[in-house]
């Protein structure tokens, strides 16, 4: 069957008929070559040029607006029942079920399914068909893959006005959450619109903070209670300490009273090991270290003034910027100050003056970070000015190891909790450095540019694999380090112990030598002071006599010359000669004079 479609159109609608006719070809234009024009051009050497006859394309990159997705659960209610059966009615459902059970299809189907199912169940019982075959094989020794780290997530400050991430703390129970304290530390740069909130982030969700903490004044530091994962304590910019319970909401449960708190921003607060698990201590640049019991924040339980003269004088106290507390040594703690001194203190001293045990003078700038090595508590790491230094408790004169002066200021550092020889530092140019002192001492083993702005804080997860660092523009970056840098190597502890021993010994020897030299100098200077007293006078007289002689000599020669000149008549030569003569003499005199003086 032919499918035909017929349509009609009026002839007149086609328009005028075109009348074509043939015509011979006609030359319209003939342009001859003009050789003279050729002289205006230079003949190019032959070269290959590929052509392609295709459409011009250009490449563009487009970034769409961020799509925010939220996952939530669905509530499944009973459904699917036919219209006449009410699922709530027991009788109706039972009746329905009985009806189904009598169905032929049902019986056949179930018998068949039953046999299939039986087979699988028996299979399961006979053999574990999903065994872990590779469990026994040891991990091949890490074929030395280069150290690397990759960014997992970036948590950005949701507010318009970005504040610096000044403090970070991992959730103590597994670390699925990160608490970050936001505060603008630049002097008088906080505007009225800046929100004082700090956030707790779930590391899986960088789009929105899991919880907001709303203090009265922005928080400079924030710590989770290692014993109780729901409580946090934070030190704020106005010197108050606030205590939160995440189960009770965003407002602090209790805030310390303004009169008894610090008078400067609280730069560091650490939880203490105590039976009740509610003690914390804080340090601030007003020169005080205060101990608190978080159940009663109205008043600190203890106070220490960091006066280097041990007088408890607040005016002369050193401002504290960092604190370190190691739970294995509960009575000792260390404070890093703004003046570059590290003060080691003993909490259980009898008198306040004995609380400050000793000081270590290390840096030319504030000591921004201070931490004991978790494996070798006698050695601690400090960071300040442009270097990071490792100290031994016994050597007070200088650090035992230090990095060379870096290009930019170091702002924070911490040891790796799994590898004793690895530590991390962050700098003001946005670089995170990973140092492995067993591998390379001059340079960081791995140097990563995390962001363009300065990095201010750093915190490692207890597994040692995740690093969180906070930047000036409110971005907290989460990085994962490769396993080479986060697994304990064999012999590492002993090698590192040997290294620390060696460096400590070197410093001790240097210290001893220094002391010797100083003693010698002192004794020598005491001796020579008596002798020198006499010798000095003698020399002075001699010098005076010599100067007088020289003066008379010069004047005599000059007057003689003038007399001769008057007789002879003026002439250039003798003048210049005579001028030159006394010239070298005083110089030689001068040369000899500093000689005896240099002995002093």
């Amino acid at each position: 069957m032919e499918i035909v479609h017929v349509y009609r159109k009026l002839r007149s609608k086609f328009g005028r008929q075109s009348l074509f006719s043939d015509r011979p070809a006609e030359l319209l234009v003939d342009v001859h070559t003009d050789q003279s024009l050729g002289h205006q051009f230079i003949q190019k050497s032959q070269r290959d040029q590929d052509l392609q006859a295709c459409r011009d394309m250009s490449e563009h990159q487009v970034n769409t607006k961020r799509f925010e997705s939220d996952s939530c659960g669905l509530n499944h209610e009973e459904g699917g029942w036919p219209k006449d059966v009410n699922p709530q009615e027991m009788e109706q459902t039972i009746r329905f079920r009985k009806k189904v059970e009598k169905d032929e299809i049902y019986i056949n189907g179930i018998l068949q399914l039953g046999s299939v199912m039986d087979h699988c169940i028996r299979q399961n019982n006979a053999v574990d068909i999903y065994p872990d075959y590779c469990e026994d094989q040891d991990q091949e020794e890490d074929y030395q893959e280069p150290p690397s780290a990759k960014t997992i997530n970036v948590f950005r400050d949701p507010n318009e006005l970005k504040r610096t991430v000044t403090g970070l703390s991992w959730h103590p129970d597994g670390g699925r959450k990160l608490a970050a304290a936001y505060c603008c530390l630049e002097f008088q740069k906080t505007s009225r619109d800046m929100s004082p909130d700090s956030y707790i982030w779930d590391i899986e969700n960088p789009n929105r903070p899991e919880m907001t903490l709303k203090p009265a004044s922005p928080l400079v530091c924030l710590e989770y209670n290692p014993k109780d994962c729901h409580t946090l304590v934070g030190g704020s910019y106005n010197g108050q300490i606030a205590y939160w319970d995440t189960r009770r909401g965003s407002q602090p449960v209790e805030v310390s009273s303004v009169e008894h708190s610090h008078r400067d921003p609280v730069y560091k607060i650490i939880w203490l090991q105590s039976k009740t698990g509610t003690d914390a201590f804080s340090a601030s640049t007003d020169g005080q270290v205060l101990w608190w019991d978080v159940r009663r924040l109205s008043e600190p339980t203890e106070r220490l003034v960091l006066d280097p003269n041990r007088e408890g004088n607040l005016d002369r106290a050193l401002g504290a910027i960092s604190l370190d507390f190691e739970s294995t040594m509960p009575t000792k703690f260390m404070v890093g100050t703004e003046e570059g001194l590290v003060v080691s203190c003993n909490r259980k001293a009898k008198t306040p003056s004995e609380k400050i045990v000793c000081t270590y003078d290390g840096h030319q700038g504030p000591v921004y970070a201070l931490q004991r090595n978790p494996f070798f508590p006698k050695n601690f790491l400090t960071v300040g000015d442009w270097t990071a230094r490792i100290w031994s408790e016994d050597i007070k004169e200088s650090s035992i190891m230090w990095t060379k002066y870096q290009m930019s200021y170091l702002t924070d550092a911490c040891w790796s909790p799994v590898r004793p020889s690895v530590f991390f530092t962050v700098k003001m140019d946005g670089i995170l450095d990973v140092w492995d002192i067993l591998f390379k001492q001059n340079d960081p083993t791995l140097s990563l540019k995390v962001c363009d702005e300065a990095l201010y804080s750093l915190r490692l997860h207890e597994t040692g694999r995740l690093v969180a660092c906070g930047s000036q523009r409110g971005g907290a970056t989460l990085l994962e380090i490769n396993s080479g840098l986060s697994t304990l190597q064999k012999n590492e502890k002993s090698l590192l112990a040997a290294m620390f021993e060696r460096e400590t010994k070197r410093e001790k020897i240097l210290e001893a030598r220094q002391r010797e030299i100083r003693l010698k100098e002192r004794s020598r200077s005491e001796q020579s002071r008596d002798e020198d007293g006499g010798r000095e006078d003698q020399n002075q007289n001699q010098l005076m006599v010599r100067a007088e002689d020289h003066f008379y000599l010069v004047t005599e020669t000059e007057t003689k010359r003038r007399r001769d000149n008057q007789i002879r008549g003026p002439g250039p030569e003798p003048e210049s000669d005579s001028e030159r003569e006394p010239g070298p003499e005083p110089e030689s005199e001068l040369e000899s004079r500093p000689g005896p003086a240099a002995v002093f």
């Binding site: 699917g80 049902y106 189907g109 046999s115 299939v116 039986d118 699988c120 169940i121 019982n125």
Partner: protein, 96 residues
């Protein structure tokens, strides 16, 4: 009818079997050995999963069809035998 009962009893008697549910094509649990709320939950969720799995297999190859589905989790294993109109769900705790 009696054979069905016998089959189910046999399955229930196997080692490690925690529960059996028979669900029809609409998702209504027809027979179950678990309590009502769990049954309803299993029935609804697994019904959706089986539909999805079946459509996946069919999409890849229209001649193919789903014959069995095993979901192993940390705590137990859920085995689903689908049929045209019904499916049989067995929750087993593998003893090894």
């Amino acid at each position: 009818m009696a054979e069905v009962e016998e089959t189910l009893k046999r399955i229930q008697g196997q080692n490690g079997v925690q529960g059996i549910i028979i669900v029809n094509s609409e998702g209504i649990p027809v027979k179950t050995t678990l309590d009502n709320p769990s049954t309803v939950q299993y029935a609804g969720l697994i019904h959706q999963l089986v539909m999805k799995a079946r459509s996946t297999i069919r999409d890849i190859d229209p001649q193919n069809d789903l014959t069995f589905l095993r979901i192993r989790s940390k705590k137990n294993e859920i085995m689903i035998a689908p049929d045209k109109d019904y499916f049989l769900i067995v929750i087993q705790n593998p003893s090894d």
